[in-house]
Structures are given as C-alpha cells and as structure tokens.
C-alpha cells in the first residue's frame, strides 16, 4: 500500500507539472515593466549583478583551450569597467570537459539559473552540440567562441539552434584550406584521415576529405580512434598498409600526441607526415609528445598580429600584464569579441525603469546579437542568418622544440605558411 500511495503522489505531481507546462507554453508573450517579449523577460533588480554564463573546457588535457578563452572574456569585462547597463557583471563559468556529457551538464546548470542573461562559450563542438539547444530552450542566446563544427551554423541546422551564434570561423573554411595546403603545398596525392568521433574532428575530417577529392587527390580511408585511446598501433598499422603520402588527423591533445609518438615506430610510416589541426595548439601537446613533436605541423587560424584586428596588440599586452604569460592558445581574441558582442547587444535592448531595475527581452536580445556588427580584435564581427559571425584566415604552424616551457604561439610552434 505504501508503494501505491507514493505512486499516486508521483502521478499527481506529474500531472500538475504537465498542466503547468501547458499553461506556460500557451502564454505567448510576456510583459514585465516596460518590456514585452515573445520568449520571456529577464528582470535584474536594482544593484543586483547581471549574470553572464560561460562554459569551456577548464580541466584535462585540453584545458589550455578553455582557460585562454576565459581570460579573453575576463579582459573584456575589465575593459568595460566591470559594469553593464548599471549593473556589475558576474561571470558564472562552468567546466564542460570538452565532451558531450559535460556540455549537457554545464548548459543545464546555466539554463536552470533564471538570472542568466546570455551565455558565452564553449570551446568544443562536442559540448556545443548538446549545450546550445538546452540554452535556447530556456530562451538563452549562446555566443560560441571556439567550437567550429560546420553543422552548428549550417543553413540546414535545426530550429533548436536558433539561439546559437559564433565569433569563430566554421570548419567548412578550415577543411577547404587544409585540403588545399596538403594537396598544393605538401604535394600529396593519397591521404588517410583520422578523427576521434567528436563532432569537430569528424566533420572537419569529412570536409577536408571532400575538398581533397575535388582537388584531384585520393582519400584512401577515413579512420577513427577514440579521444582517450592510448594504443594507436593497430590503426596505424592498418594505415601503413594503405601507403598514404600524408595522414591528416584533426584530433585533440591526448590522442594527437599518441598518434604522433606511435606513428614514428610503425614500419612504413617513419617518413609519412602527420598533420594535425586546431584542437592541438597547447603546451600540453608538447608535454605529452616531447621529442616526437619537433617538425610536427598543425593547420590553424592565422593568429599572428598582422592577421588580427587593429586592437589586437594592445589586447595581448593586457593579457600578458594580467596573467604573466603570453596567450596559451589561439581563441582568446574570439572570446574577447564574443563578450563584446554580448555586451553591445545587451546595451541595445536593456531598458531601465524608474526604480532602477533593468529589463531584457530574451527574443529581442537574440535578434540584437544577430544584428550587431563591429570591428573586433579578431577581425570584423558580423553575423549571417545562421549565426556565423567570423571569417577564417588560414595558416600552418610547425613545432620546433620538445620542451613545453618553450611553447609560444609564433615561435614554438612557428608560422610556416602562408
């Protein structure tokens, strides 16, 4: 009998929740204070902070990627004086671990905070793919700062991604460029691609392979490993039987370092260059690969000062002053611009009433983000209708030293192309 009672309570509760859901979805527009909005209105009482959510990879082998972006956003907050539309800015940072489960947890946590105005991040497409729909369901716009998987801003993206924009390029362009580099500069005719099953690596490897075929090259096979795999011998042995000219493996730090170390031990692959990509620009890659890294090339967006916006040198100075080291990865400028985009859009739509409370319409904020155009430190920011706000400038970097302390973007690894 006890069980039955519990069940009845559960049923009752479930019914009430369902009824509430019906009621809340039926009410279309919400009006609070001076603002009416289709999705909802965020009210920030006088003196309360304006809460900006953020999620990046903050731990593990890929943490340089996330920490670098967090610093970019922190500098942006400092640059506008720590205050926005009369409220102090509070940054709530979650760690997504650069995987789908972490992205889902982080986004759920941010979305469940009713005071979250907007979210910046993540760094990994694996986290953005489940994260963005959760946030948009709660009416929160997500400005991504380094997740580059093409599907996230593709014209055929699903409506649940409508609140997702990014101040970073799409891998459609990175893939096209990488194919061109491998085909025209390295003069490769036959390649093998290796991805790790993550949306980023899988989509980039596919786009690169398609473009490589268009250029007249041959993709012998598309291999896959898991991001945590340690034993690459079998897959590399298989690759060796296909005799490729180049192996293109846009995976992350841990698997990338394993491929790099182990490929040199496989008969037939000693002289075959392994090309990595943008997930691997980190001191941890040198730490994990050590001596094997010398001569390793990765394709990357051009982050040399000449290729960035005018304000970039000043931004890097600020970065060095605040954190006592040069940037540890390549997306700090995109993160800074993502934060700027958020601030500018909030300034556009926020309305303050006589009592000092601020009102922000969530739909209006999303539209303002899409409509805001400015010259960022990473280059011009201007979103298309699918949320793609930045362009890609290609480059190739080569590592020159196996000591992690020598890591400095521009020196080790140094830019060798174009």
């Amino acid at each position: 009998m006890r069980g039955f009672n519990y069940r009845r309570i559960l049923l009752c509760g479930g019914g009430m929740i369902a009824a509430l859901a019906v009621v809340s979805s039926a009410s279309a527009a919400e009006t609070k204070g001076p603002v009416t909005d289709d999705i909802g209105v965020l009210v920030i009482p006088k003196g309360a902070p304006i809460q900006i959510g953020a999620y990046w990879v903050m731990s593990g082998a890929d943490s340089a990627l996330g920490i670098d972006e967090k610093r970019g956003v922190e500098i942006a907050v400092k640059d506008i004086g720590g205050k926005l539309v009369g409220h102090p800015i509070k940054l709530n940072v979650e760690d997504d671990g650069c995987n789908a489960e972490g992205g889902q947890t982080a986004a759920t946590k941010l979305a469940s905070n009713p005071a979250t105005a907007i979210v910046i991040g993540p760094a990994c497409s694996s986290a953005a793919t489940p994260g963005a729909p959760i946030l948009w369901k709660a009416g929160i716009t997500d400005i991504d700062t380094a997740a580059t998987a093409p599907a996230l801003t593709a014209p055929e993206r699903k409506p649940e991604y409508a609140g997702f924009v990014r101040t970073v390029y799409s891998d459609i362009d990175q893939g096209r460029n990488d194919a061109k580099y491998v085909h025209d500069v390295l003069k490769a005719q036959k390649i093998v691609t290796i991805h790790d099953g993550s949306p980023y690596a899988q989509q980039l490897a596919t786009v690169m392979g398609e473009n490589f075929k268009k250029l007249g090259g041959q993709v012998l096979s598309q291999e896959a490993v898991s991001p945590t795999d340690v034993d690459m011998h079998p897959v590399l042995t298989r690759v060796a039987t296909e005799k490729p000219d180049v192996i293109y493996a846009p995976v992350f730090v841990a698997a990338g370092a394993q491929l790099l170390r182990q490929s040199k031990d496989i008969p037939g692959l000693e002289k075959v260059p392994l090309i990595g990509s943008s997930g691997q620009m980190a001191p941890d890659l040198i730490e994990a690969a050590r001596a094997a890294i010398v001569g390793y090339k990765i394709t990357y967006p051009d982050v040399s000062p000449e290729a960035m916006g005018k304000a970039y040198p000043k931004f890097v100075d600020e970065y060095k002053k605040a954190y006592g080291e040069a940037p540890i990865s390549g997306y700090h400028a995109n993160a800074y611009d993502g934060a700027q985009l958020a601030f500018k859009a909030i300034e556009k739509v926020a309305k303050t009433d006589a009592s000092g409370a601020t009102y922000i319409g969530r739909k209006a904020l999303r539209d303002a983000v899409f409509a805001t155009k400015f010259e960022g430190v990473s280059g011009p920011i201007s979103c298309d209708q699918y949320g793609q706000c930045a362009q890609f400038k290609p480059a190739v970097y080569e590592f020159t030293n196996g000591d992690p302390k020598t890591f400095k973007i521009g020196e080790n690894p140094k830019k060798i192309w174009p």
Partner: protein, 364 residues
C-alpha cells in the same frame, strides 16, 4: 467449454514449445550472430589479404604486451575477490598511483641522463618507487576504507570501493593537475629485438618479460609459501581458517600488498608503452582488467593471467581480423566494443569464466 478448460487442453501441446522462451531465442541469436561475425569477418579479411605476416605478428606482439599489463592488474582484482569477496573497483586507480609516482622518478632520471647511461639501475629504481607507492596506498585503502566494512553484507563495501576510486583520482588531480604528462622516451627502448625473424621494440619485450616474471613469482608465493597457503585457506573459508589459527587480518593485508605491488609494476609497464599519465588513466585499464579477471574466472589466479592475455590479444587482433573483413569502416573505434562483447558473452554463457568451473568444484 470454459476458458479454464480450454487453457488446460492446450497446456500439454504448448509445454514443449514453451520451454523455448523469448530469452532463449535472443541468446541463440546472439551466439549465432557473434559466430557469423567472427567466421565471416575472418574469412573476409584473409581473402582481402590487406595485412602481411609482419603486420599480423605486430598485432600479436602488441596484444600480448597490453594483455600482460591487463593480467597484472587483473591479479589484484582476483586475489582480493578470492579473499574478501569484494570487487575492489579502486584497483585501476592504485595502478595509476604507481605510474604517477614512477613518472617523477623517470623524468628526473631522464633529465640527469641516468636513464640512458644506466638503464638497468634506472628502471629498477623507477619500479621500486612505483611498487612502494602503490603497495602502500593499497594497504592503506584496505586499513582505512575496507576494513570497517569487512563484516557488512550487501552493497556497502562495493560502493565504498567506488568511493575510494573517486578519492584517489581526485586527490591526484588536485595534487598534480589534470593535464597529461609523458614518460621519457629513452633511445635504448626503441631498439628492436629479433623474435622469429621480426623486429619487436625492446620496451615491449621488457614489459612482457617483467609481467611474466612477476606472475611467476606471485604464483610461487601463492602456491608454495606459508602465507600463500594461508591466503588460499582464507579464500576457501575465512571462518574455518581463523579457527585453525590463521591471522585473517594479516592475510588480507598481505593480499592487498601483493595486488598493489602487481599494480605498481603494471603501471610502470603501461606508462612506458603508452607514455601518457594523468589522474584518470587507471579507469579504462581497470575496467578492462576487471573484465579479464571475470573472463578467466574471478578468484582464480591462473584465470586472471590467461584472461588478461586473451583480452589483450582479442582487442589487438579482433578489429583487423573480425571487423575489417565484413567491411566495417574505421574498425578500431570499435575495439572496446569487442572487449566488452567478449565480457558479456562470458557472463551470459559461462558465468564462472574460463577457469571458474574447476575452482567451483574444488570449493565444493
């Protein structure tokens, strides 16, 4: 005719059929499916002839290498289970502590050049530190975490083991960071040794040799010493053993120490093959080694050895042999699937594992 009469009339006819339940059908389908994949895949791969003898040999050697590491870790699972009926889920992390402490010694030896000039002494030093650390931590976990649960029935000890696993992982993460560190790569380890006319990297030969020697020593300890006899007695019946004057606590501590030492050796071997150490590195090999212990028959010492080697071989050779032939793209992504399918098959069709039955008879 009433409903009851109808059903009574049908029962005799249906009874022979009803012995085949839906579950039986599924299980048979599973068996047939696996056999078809294995046989079909093997034939397909052999017809395609993508790999030469050198490559097959490479797969085999690598399978034996990783398998012997699994076997070393599996021994810890199986011995603790034998004595305490506890699945020590923290055992993979004890291996991690060994690998981690070995890393600090190894990297300082590499920096000073000692690892290149005195490879034998340096390797022994690294092993000694790793084994000491992991043994100490294994004994401490027993004393602080498991002993209070010794007489507790139910799932509490198991949950405690999972808690210990998290504790060790997060402690190492807090103390040494979450990044990946790499073991040094001394040149002499890359030299190849000639085995049946094929070149095998020295480090793999060393790992297999180290594993075999430690397993042999362990087997002698368990079978030939007083302590080993006491261990076997406690694993048969701890109450009776206590009545015969065996100090059960001492035996349990000894078992944990032995398992911890094996895990320390395994950690260093693993790290010298795969180079990377980080706080979570013990999880996957731990689960695989647990699978190996179950495969061999949990509680059985030779079972863990054979189970580990078998699992390593299947994992290494399986994707190429079974999956390549049926045209599955990127078969190596499915390596863990093969390992765990194997485990599930054992659990379904031979729950006592390969060596389990013989032991069950002995126990009876």
């Amino acid at each position: 005719m009433s409903d009851a009469a109808v059903s009574r009339a049908f029962i005799p006819k249906l009874s022979s059929l009803s012995r085949f339940t839906f579950v039986d059908v599924v299980l048979w389908a599973l068996r047939i499916g696996v056999v078809v994949v294995v046989v079909g895949g093997t034939i397909g791969t052999l017809i395609k002839a993508r790999y030469g003898a050198a490559q097959w040999f490479d797969f085999l050697v690598f399978g034996v290498t990783i398998g012997s590491v699994y076997a070393l870790v599996a021994l810890g699972y199986t011995m603790v289970y034998g004595v305490l009926r506890l699945i020590n889920f923290a055992h993979g992390d004890i291996m991690m502590t060994g690998a981690f402490s070995g890393y600090f010694v190894a990297s300082s030896f590499a920096e000073s050049g000692f690892l290149d000039t005195n490879p034998v002494l340096a390797m022994l030093g690294i092993l000694a530190v790793a084994v000491t650390t992991s043994t100490l931590i294994a004994v401490l976990t027993e004393r602080l975490a498991y002993r209070p649960f010794r007489r507790v029935r139910g799932l509490a000890p198991l949950i405690c083991a999972i808690g210990v696993s998290f504790f060790l992982e997060q402690t190492f993460r807090g103390a040494f960071g979450s990044g990946v560190r790499a073991y040094p790569d001394p040149k002499w380890q890359k030299n190849t040794v000639d085995v049946f006319g094929f070149g095998v990297p020295l480090v793999e030969v060393l790992v297999v040799a180290a594993a075999l020697v430690s397993m042999l020593v362990l087997y002698v300890i368990v079978q030939r010493t007083r302590m080993g006899t006491a261990m076997r007695a406690v694993s048969e019946d701890s109450d009776t053993a206590a009545m015969m004057g065996i100090d059960v606590n001492k035996v349990v501590v000894f078992t944990f120490a032995l398992g911890g030492a094996m895990a320390g050796i395994a950690g260093v071997c693993y790290a010298f093959v795969f180079k990377q150490v980080y706080f979570f590195m013990g999880f996957t090999p731990g689960i695989k080694a647990f699978g190996a212990a179950v495969l061999g028959g949990i509680g059985s010492v030779p079972g863990a050895m054979i189970g580990g080697l078998f699992l390593g071989l299947v994992e290494s050779v399986g994707p190429a042999l079974f999956l390549d032939g049926i045209g599955i793209p990127a078969p190596y992504q499915l390596r863990d699937l093969i390992a765990f399918t194997l485990l599930i098959m054992v659990l379904i069709f031979r729950p006592y594992g390969i060596f389990g039955e013989r032991m069950a008879k002995k126990r009876a």
